[in-house]
Point group: C2
Chain length 315, copies 2
């Protein structure tokens, strides 16, 4: 058994193996996760957290690979957390181009980790938030969270980021676009990758059209950057825009967002604590069984039943 204190020490020293162990801990054990996060938390808050999302076929992984190389050229250290949908039948995440990215892991300034959604799709958002904190505490300058951007749980995950980048490519199906709708709204930067393909300008115009529909007054207008990840074209411009957004956030919005994020995390933690202790207590009582039977027999509906059970606990 590795002691948590040792792992924490390693994380704070930026030791790669300790970071890997720490992330495994937060994935597997909620109790260890909490001791660990509580210990590293004072050392967090320094990294710039990017969320990168886009459908399969948009060239996301290749783009991230090139972004890492550009950041390294600029002397910055980078952590990457890839969150992927996973088949419970095959038991593993799609690797694909990610293998090429693994080459980068011989570089001590880069840490790459794939988080499988496996049998715990609810816990993945929490585990990702914890993994970001670990990488932050380990001293990484930039942390990239990668998702495929399908569905609501993905939107939850990406919200850990301070700068959200949505990647498109010409010629991807309409359905994929629709699924990503919730994410488009919270994007800070758009990227049209594979910009050497025909229809790239049409893809840019589609996004512009969508942005114009959203006529809220905004202090930051999401720019649209064209890249060709395979050749690296446009990647330095993308990094420039990301840095620009970071400076923009630091001018004021960052503190407001930190407060909001702190409140959301606090409320979430309160919910977890309260419900687990109260439900554990209620389940031990005989009237819990009794009221379940009444729900099944259609004598009372679940919400009224909950009110009844709680009447005695809450004033």
């Amino acid at each position: 058994m590795v002691k948590i204190e040792e792992v924490v020490k390693g994380v704070l020293a930026g030791d790669k193996r300790s970071v890997a162990r720490a992330i495994t801990m937060v994935e597997n054990s909620p109790e260890e996760a909490q001791s660990l996060i509580a210990a590293v938390y004072p050392n967090t808050g320094k990294a710039h957290i990017l969320g990168l999302t886009g459908p399969g076929g948009s060239g996301k992984s290749t783009l991230i690979e090139k972004m890492i190389r550009e950041y390294r050229r600029r002397g910055k250290t980078v952590g990457i957390i890839a969150v992927d949908p996973t088949s419970p039948f095959t038991g593993g995440a799609f690797l694909g181009d990610r293998i090429r990215m693994q080459e980068l892991t011989t570089d001590d300034g880069v840490f790459i980790r794939s988080m499988a959604t496996r049998n715990n799709p609810g816990g993945i958002a929490k585990a990702t938030k914890d993994a970001v904190k670990i990488l932050d505490a380990s001293g990484k300058d930039v942390i990239i969270v990668e998702t495929v951007g399908a569905g609501q749980s993905e939107v939850e995950i990406i919200k850990v980021a301070q700068t959200i980048i949505v990647i498109h490519a010409p010629g991807l199906g309409d359905e994929i676009q629709a699924i990503k709708a919730g994410i488009m709204e919270i994007a800070d930067i758009f990227v049209i990758n594979k910009a050497d393909r025909e229809n790239a300008d049409k893809a840019v115009m589609d996004i512009q059209a969508m942005l114009q529909l959203d006529n809220k007054e905004k202090a930051w207008t999401p720019p649209i950057i064209k890249t060709v990840a395979l050749t690296g074209e446009g990647v330095p411009q993308l990094i420039e825009k990301i840095e620009e957004h970071w400076r923009f956030l630091q001018k004021g919005l960052l503190h407001k967002r930190s407060l909001e994020k702190a409140e959301a995390e606090l409320v979430e933690a309160i919910k977890d604590k309260v419900t687990s202790s109260i439900i554990k207590k209620l389940k031990r009582e005989k009237r819990f069984e009794e009221i379940l039977r009444r729900i099944v027999d259609r004598e009372i509906d679940p919400v009224s039943a909950a009110e009844k059970l709680l009447d005695q606990i809450l004033e």
Copy 2:
């Protein structure tokens, strides 16, 4: 203002307009939803609830249309709830073939409703459950809940069903299959639609291969039905299989599942009640602001902060 009692009366009488109003109420107002559901709840528990899910391009809507016609031929009334991902930019769900289904709505034995996920993706599972209860209380024999089956929230929604039907079609991309992994595990019946296309047999074999990987002993082995929704081929056989599954459930599993469902709904309701009342209370206190500031300043992590706040409330 329509009185809730009037709407309830209309729902129980099977009045179409009242059912529509009731569903709008549960979509828009949690308070009205609760009074309404509590009132209709004793009249629920009679319908057979089907969950139908499959990616865009699988011909889901056309298949549902043909299923409705077959059920009507057999003298059964049908309610349909279509849950779709919705763009907050366009503000509306994709209609597509659904328009053709609207023709069916002149039939008093059919009720079709589209639920938009709009700005409340978390609430959609709850609203769908409530809508199912309303249709059930209104006397529909069969209720079909349709989703596109992408992501975890969709899996949540489809779990309202007693019989879960997963639709595939030959030649759909790999990515879509992966996203649906969580749903494949809980499927009771598989449908290969567009079975007149080449590769239909390959699609059947792919599912068979996946089912064999799952070597748990099961009382019900999910059958794979081939259909051609456009011509209606295979639809009577599908309905037969659905009825067979219904009889299978009634032999014993149905009661067990009803108990599980009741417990899940009760626990959910308890969580809602507890957290909303406790968080409301905490937010009024001065130390809530104070502890938020300490989280932002990295003096304490959110979970430890939650423990601190709750120490006084919970024993």
